[in-house]
Symmetry: C2
Subunit: 252 residues, 2 copies
Amino acid sequence: MEWTIQELAARAGITSRALRHYDRVGLLPPSRVGANGYRYYDATAVARLQRILLMRRLGMGLPAIAEVLADEVDARDGLRAHIAALEEERDRIERQIRSVRHTLEALEAGAEPQMDVMLAGFNDHYKDEVVSRWGERAFQVGNDWWHGKTLDEQRAWKRAAEDLVAAWVAAAKAGISPTSEHAQSLAARHVRWLSQIPGTPTAEGDRERSIEMVKGVGGMFVEDPRFTGMYEDAAGARFVRDALQAYARTRM
Amino acid sequence: MEWTIQELAARAGITSRALRHYDRVGLLPPSRVGANGYRYYDATAVARLQRILLMRRLGMGLPAIAEVLADEVDARDGLRAHIAALEEERDRIERQIRSVRHTLEALEAGAEPQMDVMLAGFNDHYKDEVVSRWGERAFQVGNDWWHGKTLDEQRAWKRAAEDLVAAWVAAAKAGISPTSEHAQSLAARHVRWLSQIPGTPTAEGDRERSIEMVKGVGGMFVEDPRFTGMYEDAAGARFVRDALQAYARTRM
DNA sequence: CTAGAAGTTGACGCAGCGTCAAGGTCAACC
DNA sequence: GGTTGACCTTGACGCTGCGTCAACTTCTAG
């Protein structure tokens, strides 16, 4: 008994295209190919197709199925590995959902996307700094810390940041020197603010690298337009940078 | 202030290839393109990229992001839709996991893949018969019924089926006539067995179509090699078919 | 001036087929 | 024996979001 490609496809509830695909990838070659090029499938092929479709319905990929059918792996091991992969995927999605919910709640609580610019910069640009200089782990720690905060805590943190920014702006407008006592106290406050973040050198008591970080973060304000804008103008940003770098040089 | 593609890429933590991709799909065109073809990005582009990356990290697709940025949808609506999609995906995977676990348990309980041939045939081949003759709904009902059973119930059902097969084989070997009383009582038993499945005409008391079904199922045994093999040889399968069809003609 | 870094535009690859397109075969009917 | 219509074949593009060469031009620093 033999079936044409369409007959088998109809029987199996798939399309002939899929069968040709299985042929092409070597998963299910037809048992016979006519002189006209027609594919014919016999009972062996039907049985094999059944096993293929069983695993396909379970969501396994074609290469994984091929491995099982080649007896390189036991079917049970294949399924167990598949379950593990599925569970990991489910957990990943679960985390995604929580993350999106978090963001959505923040938005609905009135946080405009642009308001996040500071922390966005913190997460993006700062990430580059942190990652390239102190490694991915440091950033992970800081990132987890941030996402572990409640919305209220995040808002409080943001408030503190905004207050700090406002103080910087006022100082810059007042025309004082970046090395003046007031500017330096602001710098100290800025460093304390930064040091709250775990994973940073300051938080870990690494003095050498703390100095480096503060200098780097200072430079960030001038180079990055989002920060430049935040401090009113380029002059404001330069003021912050100079104050921070002076602080790092002389008082850390 | 302006950045080249690499500078922006480094800053954003992505590759220049991704930025070119965003350009190509119209998601983030560079703010300026030099006479040399170089792409340059300004602060506006940076801000847009930040929003893009924020949504990307949340797992949204590029078209969905484009919609939000085009202000065709509110960001909150976009996120809510995204959550819904994620939840659906998670539930789908959850069902997959249960399904695979079920299969795995069946395998570990000693059911060899090949031992499932009968029910596999029942699920596949029979599906064609059922679906093409009585519609997809009927098959769904039967399928749900099967997957709703516990492993023990499935084993019990399988045992009953195997006993029935064994009885058929013995009868066929004994050389009796398909219309003999014994063969007909087996046919009756076979029909009762089939009628346990909801969604089939027999279960629903549809006499006309029950007769048709029993005839069809009978033919199935001869045409399908998996069943032919199950009844020892082609002669055995023909015996079953003839007995069933005679039963359908004369006693239903 | 030259090397090297960085820019550009293709184009393939991945997963698993769906979906034309263009053309050969086969079974059946007139 | 010719026509029709159903079914077969091999290509090839499309989808998602870029990674990864490849081949070539342009900028930058010594």
